[in-house]
């Protein structure tokens, strides 16, 4: 296929000139001089170097970069694991060695500084991108509620609920259906909280992710509100009334003793006898709102479940409404190409290879499937924060799923789980402009989680004000990032709408 090289290059180079004045522009540059030649796919034939900054396992990314270089022998890829995004990027900008492509933990930093180039022409003319997961494509995750792509998801892990079948069996409970609802989950949490007064209580829930953060996505049917972001965000504004219901419910579960203690607490020591124990290793917790990584990094490692008497299977984060296909909250790092790169198209290819693209994913799977390859910690790479594919390519999924339990008893849980995670919605800081400022300047300051968990406040009392605050910070960020002083891609009507939100704040 022929890539739309010319348009994209012009676009990005123009961006480079205006956005990162003072940066010399990537580490790139052509060894031996630039000829400007391209191959039949529009890829440079010059010898160039690209830098890629990321948050993933270094060994994995280096091997993935090697695979890229094998495909593009004239391109040298240098990778770096980011320590602190803001510090690293501002230092790079000052030093003139900005990466050609990089990932972000929060998008506000990249957007506020216009570090990312507009990659709309590349994405929308790339047939490979038609295979993106439903929500990425249809919600435009990477477009930040504009008509332009500034980033693409590069690393994805969905939320997950895990159930310890051994605990369910011990308590003579029934395993729930895999397409369960929110209320069914809550009821099971309560039913599985059992205390026979002889020793360690069985807790219904052990949490890494608070249930309120899951509930904000799962709170209602699409017909009621098409939620596509945290805190009831529908692409235009927030409605924290949905979050408040989940927050109250979770607070009640904690106050009333349905939630296992956290690691390194006195409560944990009182419960298990060991301050440092993790509830996921006790065999006394039925349901876990854990990170997806907990399976492959811990539970799925050799001998772990046997050692602790566990039998862990995954469940989709349920929806309140009994809809078969619904959104789920997800960790989803975004990545973009630098507005200063001298090789925007090649940087785009690299970004796609390292993240969302099918070809890159096949290269990843080659790495993950070889368990003799380990990282600096001696860990096989599939146990080192392996992400989930964002392509719908069946071949990729077949290989990916094969790395998870394949025995008859467990395979069906994993198959059902993977079939149910096609609509990821990132946590707000990944893809909602101004979200980070909202949390930093307002939400985190009111300490609502502590108040609710202590039973001293009701989140519904805060919902209206918090919604107003969230909408204000979002609108302000949209104007700042995408208005005339930023990327300047908003229409007059959009600008007016956002400005009206800003103007009405506090009135």
């Amino acid at each position: 296929m022929k890539k739309n090289k010319i348009v994209a290059t012009l676009l990005s180079v123009a961006m480079a000139a205006t956005l990162l004045v003072g940066c010399s522009g990537g580490n790139g540059g052509s060894a031996g001089g630039s000829t400007g030649g391209v191959d039949e796919n529009g890829v440079t034939t010059d010898n160039i170097t690209l830098t890629y900054w990321h948050y993933e396992d270094e060994t994995t990314m280096n091997l993935l970069a090697e695979a890229f270089m094998k495909k593009y022998p004239n391109i040298t890829v240098e990778t770096k694991q980011i320590t602190d995004m803001s510090t690293d990027l501002s230092a790079a900008a000052a030093a003139g060695n900005f990466p050609d492509a990089f990932c972000a933990t929060d998008s506000d930093t990249a957007l506020a500084n216009m570090y990312w180039a507009d990659i709309t022409e590349y994405v929308e003319n790339d047939p490979d991108m038609d295979q993106m997961l439903y929500s990425i494509k249809n919600y435009g995750i990477g477009k930040f509620d504009t008509d332009h792509w500034y980033a693409m998801p590069v690393w994805y892990q969905p939320s997950a609920i895990f159930i310890d079948r051994n605990v369910i069996n011990k308590l003579n409970l029934e395993m729930p259906r895999t397409d369960w609802t929110w209320d069914e989950m809550i009821q099971l949490i309560k039913d599985a909280t059992v205390d026979d007064r002889t020793g360690m209580k069985y807790y219904g829930l052990g949490y890494y992710n608070r249930l309120d953060s899951l509930y904000g996505i799962a709170a209602c049917a699409t017909a009621e509100r098409a939620i596509k972001g945290e805190f009831g965000f529908d692409g235009t504004d927030f409605d924290l009334r949905y979050w408040a219901i989940g927050e109250e419910e979770f607070g009640n579960l904690k106050v009333n003793g349905y939630v296992a203690p956290q690691q390194d607490t006195q409560a944990m020591e009182d419960w298990s006898g060991d301050w440092g124990t993790w509830f996921g290793a006790t065999g006394h917790v039925a349901i876990f709102s854990e990170g997806f990584w907990s399976y492959m990094n811990l539970w799925g490692t050799d001998g772990y479940q046997e050692q602790y008497g566990l039998d862990i299977v995954p469940y989709v984060t349920p929806n309140v409404v009994d809809e078969k296909e619904h959104n789920i909250i997800a960790n989803m790092y975004m990545g973009g190409i630098s507005s200063s790169t001298e090789h925007p198209y090649e940087a785009y290819l690299l970004l796609k290879w390292m993240g969302i693209g099918t070809e890159g994913w096949n290269a990843r799977l080659d790495i993950y499937e070889d368990e003799s390859i380990t990282n600096a910690s001696g860990t096989a790479l599939k146990h080192a924060n392996m992400p989930v594919p964002m392509t719908t390519d069946e071949g990729v999924w077949e290989r990916y799923k094969a790395m998870f339990p394949q025995d008859e008893e467990h395979k069906m849980y994993w198959d059902d789980y993977f079939a149910s995670i096609t609509r990821p919605v990132p946590y707000g800081w990944y893809n909602i402009a101004g979200y980070w400022n909202f949390c930093d300047q307002y939400f985190n300051k009111i300490g609502i989680h502590d108040l609710v968990d202590a039973g001293t406040a009701h989140p519904a009392d805060y919902a209206a004000e918090a919604s107003e605050q969230a909408n204000y910070y979002h609108a302000e960020a949209m104007i700042s990032y995408f208005g005339p002083s930023g990327y300047d891609v908003l229409s007059d009507e959009e600008l007016a709408t956002y400005q009206a939100t800003v103007d009405s704040f506090g009135k």
């Binding site: 020793g199 296992a260 924060n385």
Partner: protein, 675 residues
């Protein structure tokens, strides 16, 4: 009078019993691979030969017991170090005996600085870890009490290794000299491992002539179990670096084991503490290690519970030998009206023998004096009994009492009944919130143990034989326990004549959720304002907040919404001595610049007074400056505290419109008068 007894079962025993085979593995839930645990990197120096332990130390504590200069100490309210006066407890150490710390207290040793050139060495065995948790922390002004600037070194746990910032590692060498205006400098080893559950010998030598490249830091040498470790400092240099002057002699010098002013106390054992005024050699550091035994068995001692009779107790039930039989002693009957919530604070000491051997609440219809059997009172009817151990029954008067599920609803937060019974309740401070709503009696019992850990029990009993019109009293009794009733807090008596009331009487309102009317204060005016302040007493800021603004707002509506785009806050001050609101860039921008009185942060006396306080505020405006003189008087005890503020900023001109109103958090505030 003091009474000591042993808690029957130990947490350590519990660990062995309930987690056999699974307690040793660290199982973090964070999104990373298992940590790389590498052996400490040795220097490239030739292996040190073993020497003798140098005897020219300036301080040495064998911690074998009976030594002078070892003081048990806790982190007090308000970031202080409080000497407890309790006797140290000694268990098997790395060499002889060692000092055991139970996670509630540490020790302050009588050590002063020995000069800029020094070495410190100690053994430790930690049975738990937490971020910032101190092992040894010392310095000429650790909390900045003398100079206003913190100055210290702490050997602690932090997630500073960039290879995995989700896991804490030990040892982290963290040092800080606030006077220099610099950052808190830290150093981390190459591994990611919290090193709990093992004996470690730490020796650090400091020579001020060995400085970092920029001259601002001292390059120290850290030896772990006799071998020097290199690691990385926070500025990227490899060696251990500490700030200067950390052993400068001082009248305010702290040398603290397992405790500091801020963080979770250490749990485990310390042993063999040395301080030298010279740099030890690598061989000497090795000798200090080799003198100890890393295979010494760690055994937590039996916990000794001390009953310290509180002379201020309102009533007591039982005796401090814990011999009280069931239904043998009673408190007086405490009335509880329909719709009322009564808060009772008591101390519960038990022998831990059985879960039911703790306080019991008996709800009846007749008043009686203390130590009187309710059953001997004429006309007595028992409606409901609720036990501390989440157990209850209703009296025989209810014909449907067998259908228990219809009448009882309860939860408990704790996860291990034996621990609750044998550790928590043997020495618990209990806050009971008892509410009567028609035929339903609701008990919320917060049993706080010696660690400060909350153990919450809720019980709702529906007694259909109890009607709105019936009298109801609660009597406190127990079995094989000793109970001191410390507080009986009547429900808030709402003043119907108040000008305005904000918050709610269940004291759960959030911050900035209710507001009084605003009142003008003109240049040259003095206003005297009276309030009733009722608060939870749990936090310093669960009280009234006074706000100075430019608009005359009305009550119960968000002030900013009433004057969009025009509303401005000049200043906001809290009852506890905190404030904010100066415009950015103003010299008074720092919140504490407002306060010229006492900050009551973490002050229990303040919290107690403010639970039910008469508040008088004298506000005087002189041009753009407002002074506030506040007096808080306890409605119960008559004890008073004062607070003063001077408020000014660039927006407060002499001709500015100026108003004040009150808001609050987790409290109920009545504005009584403005004159």
């Amino acid at each position: 009078m003091k009474k000591k007894f042993l808690s029957l079962l130990l947490t350590g025993v519990m660990a062995a019993a309930v987690l056999a085979g699974c307690a040793k593995e660290e199982t973090p839930a964070e999104p990373t691979a298992e940590p790389a645990v590498e052996e400490p990197a040795a220097t490239e120096e030739p292996a040190a030969e073993t020497a003798e332990i140098p005897t020219d130390y300036k301080y040495y504590f064998s911690l074998d017991g009976g030594e002078e200069g070892v003081h048990m100490a806790t982190k007090g309210d308000g970031a202080t170090i409080e000497l407890t006066g309790k006797d140290p407890v000694y268990v098997t150490g790395a060499k002889g005996q060692g000092l055991y710390l139970d996670g509630t207290a540490g020790a302050k040793l009588d050590v002063n600085g020995v000069g800029d050139t020094y070495s410190v060495s100690y053994w430790m065995y930690s049975s738990r870890n937490a971020q910032h948790m101190p092992t040894l922390q010392y310095g000429p002004d650790v909390h900045g009490d003398a100079t206003g600037k913190e100055h210290w070194v702490n050997f602690t746990w932090e997630p500073f290794n960039p290879d995995d910032t989700t896991k804490t590692t030990f040892p982290i060498v963290w040092s800080y000299d606030q006077a220099t205006g610099g950052d808190r400098m830290y150093w981390y080893p190459d591994w990611i491992d919290n090193r709990t559950g093992e004996w470690l010998n730490i020796t650090m030598t400091v020579d001020p002539s060995e400085v970092s490249a920029d001259g601002s830091m001292i390059i120290a040498h850290l030896y772990l179990n006799g071998e020097e470790v290199i690691g990385t400092s926070s500025d990227g240099d490899r060696p251990v670096q500490v700030v200067t002057g950390t052993m400068t002699p001082s009248d305010n010098f702290d040398f603290l084991l397992g405790v500091n002013y801020w963080d979770t106390p250490f749990k485990g054992v310390f042993d063999e503490v040395y301080v030298y005024d010279r740099v030890l050699t690598a061989a000497e550091a090795k000798a200090l290690f080799e003198a100890g035994d890393t295979t010494a068995k760690f055994e937590a001692p039996e916990r000794v519970v001390e009953i310290v009779k509180n002379e201020a107790a309102l009533e007591t039930v039982g005796t401090d030998d814990l011999s009280m039989a069931f239904w043998s002693d009673w408190s007086s009957a405490i009335p509880l009206k329909d719709g009322e919530t009564k808060t009772i604070v008591l101390k519960n000491y038990s022998a831990g023998g059985n879960a039911y051997e703790n306080y019991v609440l008996d709800f009846t219809n007749q008043p009686h004096e203390a130590h009187v059997d309710p059953n001997t009172v004429e006309g007595n009817t028992e409606y409901v009994v609720v036990r501390a151990d989440e157990w209850a029954w209703i009296g025989d008067i209810n014909p449907d009492s067998e259908n228990a599920a219809d009448y009882f609803e309860s939860t408990h937060s704790w996860g291990n009944w034996p621990v609750w019974q044998q550790s928590v309740m043997v020495d618990a401070t209990v806050t009971l919130k008892i509410t009567r709503n028609g035929s339903a009696i609701n008990v919320v019992a917060d049993n706080v143990d010696y660690n400060g850990e909350s153990n919450l029990m809720t019980y709702t009993v529906k007694q259909t034989a109890l009607t709105d019109a019936d009298d109801l009293y609660v009597t406190i009794l127990g079995e094989h326990c000793y109970i001191e009733i410390l507080e009986i807090n009547d429900p808030i008596a709402v003043d119907e004549n108040a000008l305005s009331a904000i918050g709610n009487i269940d004291l759960t309102c959030g911050f900035w959720s209710d507001w009084t009317d605003a009142y003008a204060i003109k240049d040259g005016e003095t206003k005297t304002i009276k309030l009733n302040n009722y608060s939870t007493g749990k936090e310093d800021y669960h009280n009234f907040v006074m706000v100075l603004t430019n608009k005359e707002t009305v009550a119960h509506s968000a002030p900013a919404d009433q004057f969009p785009g025009e509303y401005m806050e000049y200043a906001v001050v809290r009852a506890d001595g905190w404030g904010w609101g100066a415009p950015e860039g103003d010299a008074n921008a720092a919140p504490d610049c407002y306060n010229i009185g006492t900050k009551y942060i973490g002050d229990n006396n303040f919290r107690n007074i403010m639970k039910a306080a008469d508040v008088e505020i004298v506000a005087t405006r002189n041009g753009g400056e407002v002074t506030l003189d506040m007096t808080y008087t306890s409605k119960k005890t008559g004890d008073s505290l004062t607070e003063s503020y001077v408020l000014k900023n660039g927006n407060m001109a002499a001709d500015s419109e100026m108003y004040f109103f009150f808001t609050n958090e987790a409290s109920y505030v009545e504005l009584l008068s403005v004159e």
